[in-house]
């Protein structure tokens, strides 16, 4: 239930407040208000950023659309709420958003003491290194970086991971530390350090803004685990299930070869598993068990495509970022994206 009371005080200085009853039954609330309130990044290349028309595009934004498609059968029924790093958790706790899909690393403390549930991992990220190959020819592993000057953002886990990694491998390095992302980028571009370290997806995004991207190489080592995934509040298992299985459905659809183009034909497929997932079985409970329509998987895939399509369109080969699938490849193809069976 959402009631919006807007009180006009002193003309345009109107004080508006919206009262949203964040009871345990998030799914009912979402259905009642007719949209999923989804917390996204305020702007991160490939994950959540506005396009020319101002629509939110990106890997995380598309996950929001997938949840909306699962609940309503319509991927457009999302209200995107841009949140910054600190605000994101309050927004979720206070019920301002129903799901947080914002590059959030799954850690023990967030899962427990902050009172959240992670609905899975939709992107396995990790800290990596980028070097200027023109300045450092012949280096193809982070283990050869002893003595290098490393540009890093201060106050981040990145800085700590960097120290751990070099200490663990008995290597020396000179940290060149900056406060913000922009300064760090500028310093690297200006050649004040040999190596740049941040999350790998960030390295790919940075490469797009460099003057001479071909000179820069992302090294293969990943020195930290950054499993990113959608987050919901503790204490509402039904909504948790809906979000969790939306992610599983995206991955399963790719595994079964169901795409946004062939989803209608696939409903008539001979493969019983595909027919079951798409809700074509007699007396199917694929959706009703979750409180959704039985065609919810079909709606998700028709709305945003399968996991591979979402990846490709926003951050993969179909996007300017061209991030390779790596760990995010399906388990059948050498990655670790693995979804429990939908049955």
């Amino acid at each position: 239930m959402k009631t919006t009371i807007l009180t006009g005080v002193l003309g345009a200085a109107a004080l508006g407040f919206a009262a949203t009853a964040a009871s345990a039954a998030t799914l009912d609330d979402v259905k009642a208000k007719g949209e999923v309130a989804c917390g996204v990044h305020t702007g991160l290349q490939g994950f959540a950023a506005p396009d020319d028309q101002g629509n939110w595009r990106g890997f995380d934004s598309d996950f929001c659309r997938a949840v909306a498609a699962a609940v309503f059968g319509d991927p457009s029924k999302v209200r995107f709420v841009p949140t910054n790093a600190t605000e994101r958790f309050t927004a979720l706790q206070s019920g301002e958003i129903d799901v947080l899909s914002r590059n959030t690393t799954w850690t023990l403390s967030r899962d427990t003491s902050l009172g959240f549930n992670f609905a899975g991992v939709n992107y396995y990220d990790g800290q990596g290194f980028m070097i200027n190959a023109a300045k450092l020819p012949g280096i193809n592993s982070a283990l050869q970086l002893s003595g290098a000057a490393v540009c890093v953002q201060t106050g981040t886990t990145t800085e700590l991971n960097l120290a751990d990694y070099f200490a663990a491998n008995n290597m020396e390095y000179n940290p060149v530390v900056f406060q913000g992302f922009d300064e760090t980028n500028a310093a690297y571009e200006a050649g004040r350090c040999d190596v740049y370290t941040t999350d790998q997806s960030g390295l790919y995004a940075l490469r797009l803004t460099l003057g001479n991207p071909d000179e820069h190489v992302v090294l293969p080592e990943i020195i930290s685990k950054e499993p990113l995934g959608p987050v919901v509040r503790h204490g509402d298992d039904q909504w948790f299930d809906v979000v969790k299985w939306t992610l599983n459905a995206l991955i399963t659809a790719e595994e079964l070869g169901i795409t946004s183009e062939n989803v209608e034909e696939m409903k008539q497929s001979d493969n019983p598993e595909i027919r079951r997932v798409l809700g074509q079985e007699e007396n199917s409970t694929i959706g009703s068990a979750l409180g959704l329509d039985n065609a919810w998987v079909a709606n998700v895939v028709a709305g945003v495509g399968n996991y591979g399509e979402v990846f490709d369109r926003n951050i993969g080969q179909g996007s300017p970022l061209k991030i390779s699938r790596g760990l995010n490849q399906l388990w059948t193809k050498g990655g670790i994206q693995y979804a429990p069976p939908i049955r």
């Binding site: 919006t4 807007l6 006009g8 002193l10 003309g11 345009a12 200085a13 109107a14 004080l15 508006g16 407040f17 919206a18 009262a19 949203t20 009853a21 964040a22 009871s23 305020t42 702007g43 991160l44 290349q45 490939g46 959540a48 950023a49 506005p50 396009d51 020319d52 028309q53 101002g54 629509n55 595009r57 209200r79 709420v81 841009p82 949140t83 910054n84 600190t86 605000e87 309050t90 927004a91 706790q93 206070s94 019920g95 301002e96 995004a205 797009l208 803004t209 460099l210 003057g211 001479n212 991207p213 071909d214 996007s319 300017p320 970022l321």
Partner: protein
């Protein structure tokens, strides 16, 4: 009496001869303003050198080599960067500004409803311009319309949800729209509230005085960033579950109260500059407190502090960018957010976007400052220097 021949006395004045060539026109101007002393000469030459070094590359970058139109980042990136431009190319990416222009103005305001923003802007200009020109009559009616009716009309127009207008949540607002609404509300609340606070601080009634002092010092003592941050991160936790204040309303209240505290101190400066005789004169005429304040003190005090008031306005206008803290995007915020669109990410995009945002801000701030100078001269009847 014989008439003397007085023809050696000139009957008419000699025409003024023109000053020597070195003492007139551009030469004289140059000699007095540019090359008056050796130091001036050196500084002038240095200045010219600086312009010669910086201006041509800038013009080349911003106009000649700039990419004006295009579908995506390819027009703003060289071939090695994955674009179409030749190697070594460097130019402004106006195509980015071009493609995102509507967003920079309206934010994510619903597409089909943008005429409402346009209409509000037209109303704003139509009411503001006659108010600013002293010769136009009906000032009182105009002011009532501008400060009384316009805010209500624009509130209903922009927010919607009434009279068949679709509801557009403030979270969809952005760009120049947010900048303008925040500054308009901030300015039109902070001036009256600031005057009230300043009068309260000088009041002889202890409760009012203490309240005003506490408010002003509290608000001035805390950075705006902190207040906005508290409002967005802490406030929701204190509220009953699920109760959330509209973010934009939070920003409006925060910014207005902030500007009021600063405005109060500016106005108080003006009040203190009024000689005691003015107060005593008003008292001896038998004027009440409000008559004295409204007719004698404030008109003189406000006139004195016009530069300070406009300074606060300009500061407020630029401070609106801080709303990015609470996830709202004013002009600067939305420009920066769009740097993250990977379809437009290039080495040239940030510089072009920031220049554009800076230029828009400059137009408004410069306009305000010029108008304040004009007003100062117009009102400066007694103290001309």
């Amino acid at each position: 009496m014989q008439e003397h021949d007085i023809s050696f006395v000139r009957a008419e004045m000699v025409a003024n001869s023109t000053p020597p060539a070195a003492e007139r026109g551009i030469v004289r101007w140059l000699r007095t303003n540019m090359f008056a002393t050796p130091l001036d000469t050196v500084l002038t030459l240095l200045g010219l050198l600086l312009i010669a070094y910086t201006l041509p590359p800038f013009i080349r970058w911003a106009f000649i080599d700039a990419a004006w139109t295009g579908p995506d980042r390819s027009v703003c990136a060289t071939i090695v960067q994955g674009g179409l431009q030749p190697d070594g190319w460097s130019g402004a990416c106006w195509a980015f500004v071009n493609a995102k222009f509507a967003q920079f103005m309206y934010g994510r305001y619903t597409f089909g409803e943008r005429w409402r923003v346009d209409l509000t802007a037209i109303l704003f200009v139509a009411l503001l311009v006659p108010l600013l020109i002293p010769r136009v009559p009906y000032k009182f009616l105009n002011a009532v319309l501008f400060f009384g009716v316009f805010p209500i009309v624009s509130f209903f127009l922009l927010v919607g949800g009434w009279f068949g207008l679709a509801y557009v949540p403030t979270s969809e607002w952005g760009g120049l729209l947010v900048t303008m609404v925040l500054s308009f509300v901030g300015i039109s609340i902070s001036l009256p509230l600031g005057i009230a606070l300043a009068l309260g601080r000088r009041s002889k009634m202890p409760v009012i005085k203490v309240l005003c002092v506490v408010f002003i010092e509290m608000v001035r003592g805390v950075p705006l960033v902190t207040v906005l941050f508290m409002a967005s991160v802490m406030l929701p936790l204190f509220m009953p579950a699920g109760m959330t204040f509209d973010r934009f309303a939070r920003a409006l209240v925060g910014v207005s109260l902030f500007a009021s505290a600063y405005m109060a101190e500016v106005v108080r400066g003006g009040l203190q500059a009024i000689p005691k005789g003015q107060y005593e004169g008003a008292d001896s005429l038998g004027l009440s407190y409000w008559q004295k304040t409204g007719l004698i003190v404030l008109p003189q005090a406000l006139k004195l502090v016009i530069p300070g008031i406009v300074n606060t306005f300009i500061g407020l206008f630029k401070d609106t960018s801080l709303v990015y803290i609470i996830g709202m995007f004013d002009l600067l915020g939305i420009v920066r957010q769009n740097f993250q669109d990977s379809n437009w990410a290039s080495a040239q995009t940030p510089m072009s976007g920031l220049l554009f945002a800076g230029f828009i801000f400059w137009i408004f701030c410069f306009g305000m400052s010029r108008y304040s100078i004009y007003m100062e001269r117009r009102l400066d009847t007694g103290h001309k220097r």
